[in-house]
């Protein structure tokens, strides 16, 4: 690489990953793809994401993306997770287009968490009906 590949935003998020960590919660997923590993864990207050944490093995853009996502989605409805798309994230962090494959792995992790929460809610709902 011949020039600084990291935007100021990426540097800030990478150096202060306030949401790095893991929680003991039923809402936890691990995605392992393209040499990237992302774990997301969430706690909910009803349908609202109360806390969102990540652990990551990947390049600085992946770590910054995971931190950005946690910041953006805490306090939001869990339903947002399932249709999460990386478009805004790519622009906000100025991620090089060549790295979009890695960021899509992060997107997969967010959607997988959304699916896990939905499945868990569905099972819980069915149990109540039964």
């Amino acid at each position: 690489m011949s020039r600084d590949p990291y935007s100021e935003r990426v540097r800030a998020l990478f150096s202060s990953p306030l949401h790095a960590g893991s929680m003991s919660t039923p809402y936890r997923v691990l995605v392992d793809d393209q040499g990237i590993r992302i774990e997301l864990s969430a706690t909910l207050d009803g349908d609202v994401i109360q806390r969102l944490r990540f652990r990551a093995w990947g390049c600085p853009h992946v770590v910054a993306a995971a931190e950005w996502i946690c910041t953006q989605l805490e306090g939001e409805s869990a339903a947002r997770l399932q249709d999460f798309a990386i478009t805004e994230l790519m622009q906000s962090l100025a991620v090089p287009v060549e790295k979009s494959g890695r960021i899509l792995v992060v997107e997969d992790a967010v959607r997988a968490l959304g699916a896990a929460i939905k499945e868990s809610s569905t099972i819980a709902g069915q149990a109540e009906q039964d």
């Binding site: 790095a20 774990e39 093995w57």
Partner: protein, 392 residues
């Protein structure tokens, strides 16, 4: 000479070095209208004055290498020297045979040249070193054939610092009638060399690794009746038509001066580098899962390559800022290709990915090494905490 950039801690001297101020002064004196700027091939006083600087530089470099000045060909750097030596020798001897030998752990400036020759119809045997990076002589002997024309083995590996026994390798090559080329980009001016006593036929070198300028290198060509090179460039009669083009006198003079300084400083440099390298290793060697890539007993002391498990290389590099070090990955945004050198030593992709090369130089201080120790320990701890594999 002090470390110039106050906001950086530079430990990447294997990549390049700053120009020694004394060398810079020599070069600047030759640049302007008041200097000896003449074309060294010209037949007038300005040209002769310029030519004297080229002669002095060749004598200085020859003295450093333990050979005579007339055995040196000026090039643009080690990459060009490698191309000229390997392609030039292989093509000139192709009527005798088309088998060539080199190592998997050579620099790209060598491996890519051999791949180009493979496309021309040459057959290449790629030798794998032992897990410590050292080539076993038996491996080389087993690869040699009656039609082997050229062997190319680097002296000091640019990633691990491991050095090869080029004296014994040269004897092995000559016993089988093959030429030996040595890429010495990482060792010239850093380790003692006495070419007159070695069975080395061709040796590539560059100035910018020994506090000289970028853009100038040299190729040593031994005096042997059966050693000839086909030129790669055409266009003039300079340097016996082997490498035509107007000689860049300020760069050559700078290279010569850097060589003279290296000859004076080499032993004290080596002692200082060994002290600092050992201090660095002692400061990080207790980290769980750390691995030394190479062999301290057979390494140039200015280089230390380590890897740790569960840490991603590119993130480690950024977390180490303001340290300037090299990573074991190609740092390619499209794929995280791990170092082929470390892979050849048996490291897994993940271990090679997290490898860091610290390279120490003449200006490095003890404080910088202590800072590097603290920074490395902190970065590894932070990234490990963040890794799903460790904290699960």
């Amino acid at each position: 000479m002090t470390n110039a950039a106050a906001d950086l801690v530079y430990l990447d001297y294997a990549a390049t070095t700053p120009v020694d101020p004394r060398v810079l002064e020599t070069m600047l004196r030759l640049q302007g209208v008041q200097g000896d700027f003449g074309n060294p091939s010209a037949m007038h006083r300005a040209g002769w004055r310029s030519h004297a600087h080229v002669e002095l530089a060749a004598e200085r470099l020859g003295a450093l290498l333990g050979t005579s000045a007339d055995r040196l060909v000026w090039t643009s750097g080690a990459t060009e020297s490698n191309n000229l030596a390997i392609i030039g020798a292989a093509r000139h001897r192709r009527h005798r045979g088309r088998h060539l030998v080199t190592m998997l752990t050579e620099h790209k400036a060598v491996t890519d040249v051999f791949r180009a020759l493979q496309r021309e119809g040459f057959e290449v045997s790629w030798l794998r070193p032992g897990p410590n990076g050292v080539l076993d002589l038996g491996t080389l002997q087993a690869a040699m054939r009656a039609d082997t024309q050229l062997v190319s083995i680097m002296h000091v590996n640019n990633e691990t610092g491991v050095w090869q026994d080029i004296a014994k390798i040269g004897e092995c090559c000559h016993a089988r009638g093959a030429l030996l080329h040595v890429d010495a980009a990482q060792s010239v001016g850093k380790l003692p060399l006495a070419l007159a006593e070695l069975s080395v036929d061709l040796m590539s070198m560059t100035a910018h690794k020994l506090y000289g300028p970028k853009g100038i290198g040299a190729l040593y060509v031994a005096k042997r009746p059966d050693l000839h090179l086909e030129p790669l460039l055409f266009g003039g009669g300079q340097q016996q038509r082997l490498r035509p083009g107007t000689l860049p006198v300020p760069l050559i003079a700078g290279f010569g001066h850097a060589a003279a300084i290296a000859a004076d400083c080499m032993l004290s440099d080596l002692a200082q580098l060994r002290t600092l390298r050992d201090r660095l290793w002692a400061g990080i060697s207790d980290l769980p899962g750390i691995r030394l890539n190479g062999d301290l007993a057979m390494s140039y002391p200015g280089l230390l390559n380590v890897s740790v498990a569960d840490v991603e290389g590119e993130s480690l590099l950024l977390a180490l800022e303001p340290l300037c070090v090299a990573t074991g990955s190609a740092c390619n945004a499209q794929n995280q290709e791990p170092s082929y050198v470390l892979r050849a030593l048996g490291l897994s992709d993940a271990a090679a990915q997290g490898a860091i090369r610290f390279s120490i130089g003449r200006p490095t201080t003890r404080d910088e090494i202590d800072f590097a120790i603290r920074q490395y320990r902190h970065a590894v701890q932070v990234l490990r905490t963040m890794s799903p594999d460790v904290a699960a």
